[in-house]
């Protein structure tokens, strides 16, 4: 049986991520316990809210070190929304320069002031690279976004798909064993659940 852990760090939408995994065939655990996380076959880092708070919660709960250790183990890791942004070097959310996990190199920048922000609602993706995460998903499928900042990886080869809001930004990334989406697949109808099903298959194949 697969053990998939959702990292519990006071992020709001854990229940919905839990339900999405459940509906995709795996009963996940929700935990902030180092041992639980490190013995899991995969980890999901959900997230809503601000980068500064997210990093503070991860720090307070002493989760940064186990996340790094898990990522280095090569086991599959899925970041969602703020869980994607937290993987980068820095975020400019909140005015200052916020240190993030620094696992994927690049910054998280604010959308242009001429746009309505947050970027909120259903938008399409443009797939630029094949991946098992995208099985059954095509260009122009709609996903639910809600964010004011966007990731800008230095190494563009980590980008699986882009989305246009003012400019094209990276909406799905894959780096080694790490997968991350800027949108919320758990809020993106049936097509969103496909992302979770695909991730679960990646975990199965990795075991």
């Amino acid at each position: 049986m697969l053990k998939i852990a959702i990292i519990d760090y006071e992020a709001g939408n854990i229940r919905n991520v839990y339900n999405a995994l459940l509906n995709s065939g795996v009963t996940p655990i929700v935990s902030d316990d180092r041992k639980d996380l490190l013995t899991s076959d995969a980890i999901v880092l959900p997230g809503v809210g601000a980068a500064k708070d997210t990093m503070q919660h991860l720090k307070n709960k002493k989760l940064i070190e186990p996340i790094n250790e898990f990522v280095n183990s090569g086991k599959p890791f899925l970041g969602i929304c703020m869980g994607l942004q937290a993987l980068f070097d820095y975020s400019f959310e909140g005015g200052g320069k916020q240190d993030c996990l620094g696992i994927i190199h690049g910054n998280v920048n604010k959308f242009d002031n001429s746009l309505v922000v947050p970027h909120m609602g259903w938008n399409t993706i443009n797939i630029v690279k094949e991946s098992p995460l995208l099985n059954g998903i095509t260009d122009n499928d709609y996903f639910y976004f809600v964010h004011s900042f966007y990731p800008d990886p230095i190494d563009k080869s980590v980008i699986l798909a882009t989305t246009k809001y003012g400019k094209e930004f990276a909406s799905i990334v894959e780096y080694k064993n790490i997968f991350a989406t800027q949108f919320h697949p758990e809020k993106s109808g049936n097509i969103g659940l496909k992302i979770y099903e695909n991730f679960i298959n990646i975990v199965k194949n990795n075991k």
Binding site: N16, D53, V117, G121, W122, V146, E186, K187, N190
Partner: protein, 251 residues
């Protein structure tokens, strides 16, 4: 390309969906969980669940109903009503809400918007404004449309956004429940002054009303209630109509 959102809205009283005209004469419109699931399957882009009696009766919102609803749907769920504190917001988010709508509590305590935005993020902090036309513009009403506040709706919208609101839900009390079209004048006036998404609410009675408001005001989302609850039109019919008329819509 980002689509215009078509949102199914529930006003809830004692666990049942209700709909009234101009916030009065409430009639039963069904089971909220069943309706949420139905509209989600029919293509609603979001579900909004407003516990409209919460402020009046001074009771906290029903977390069970939020979680039961959230478990059945896989599109975003916004809930409002009975929000007094950051702790209420946290419990609603934890129950499965994606966004929390604050109305009366934000008027009473403006800091609540700021606290919610900094603790949970602007993206889940919705400020709902119930506005009624007067000789000078539009006045904000609190407590489910029962109390005039003396606040100017446009100024209040700007202040809410400055405080950290990530979205505004604007209900025209004059148009609400009458199904004769949204209040484009009010929506345009607010849309021009703020940079966050605006949800138009009150007055949507047929697909042409939505098209008219999208064309004239460029709002980001439109709320539907009575038109859906009494099966006048389905979400699919409305979305198809908008798409055929060149609006970017998720089908």
């Amino acid at each position: 390309m980002l689509t215009k959102r078509i949102i199914a809205c529930f006003d809830v009283k004692n666990g049942r969906v209700v709909k009234g005209i101009s916030f009065k004469d409430l009639v039963d419109a069904g089971n909220p969980v069943e309706l949420a699931e139905k509209y989600c399957n029919e293509g609603a882009d979001e579900i909004v669940f407003l516990d409209i009696t919460a402020s009046t009766e001074n009771r906290s919102s029903v977390y069970d109903l939020i979680s039961t609803t959230a478990d059945k749907i896989n599109v975003p769920l916004t809930v409002g009503g009975g929000v007094r504190s950051a702790d209420d917001i946290y419990k609603m988010l934890r129950s499965g809400a994606d966004k929390v709508s604050i109305n009366t509590a934000a008027i009473k305590n403006k800091n609540l918007i700021q606290i919610s935005a900094s603790k949970f993020g602007s993206q889940c902090t919705v400020v709902a404004i119930d506005a009624k036309k007067n000789d000078f513009g539009w006045e904000v009403f609190s407590h489910g449309g029962n109390h005039p506040t003396g606040l100017d709706a446009i100024n209040w919208a700007e202040e809410a956004v400055r405080s950290g609101a990530g979205e505004l839900l604007i209900t025209s009390m004059d148009a609400d429940g009458k199904q004769s079209g949204y209040d484009n004048e009010l929506l345009s006036a607010i849309k021009k002054r703020v940079n966050v998404p605006i949800i138009a609410s009150g007055g949507g009675g047929k697909p042409e009303h939505l098209l008219d408001t999208i064309t004239k005001t460029d709002v980001d989302a439109l709320l539907l209630a009575s038109i859906l609850h009494f099966d006048t039109f389905t979400i699919i019919q409305i979305k198809n109509f908008l798409k055929q008329n060149g609006v970017n819509i998720r089908i």
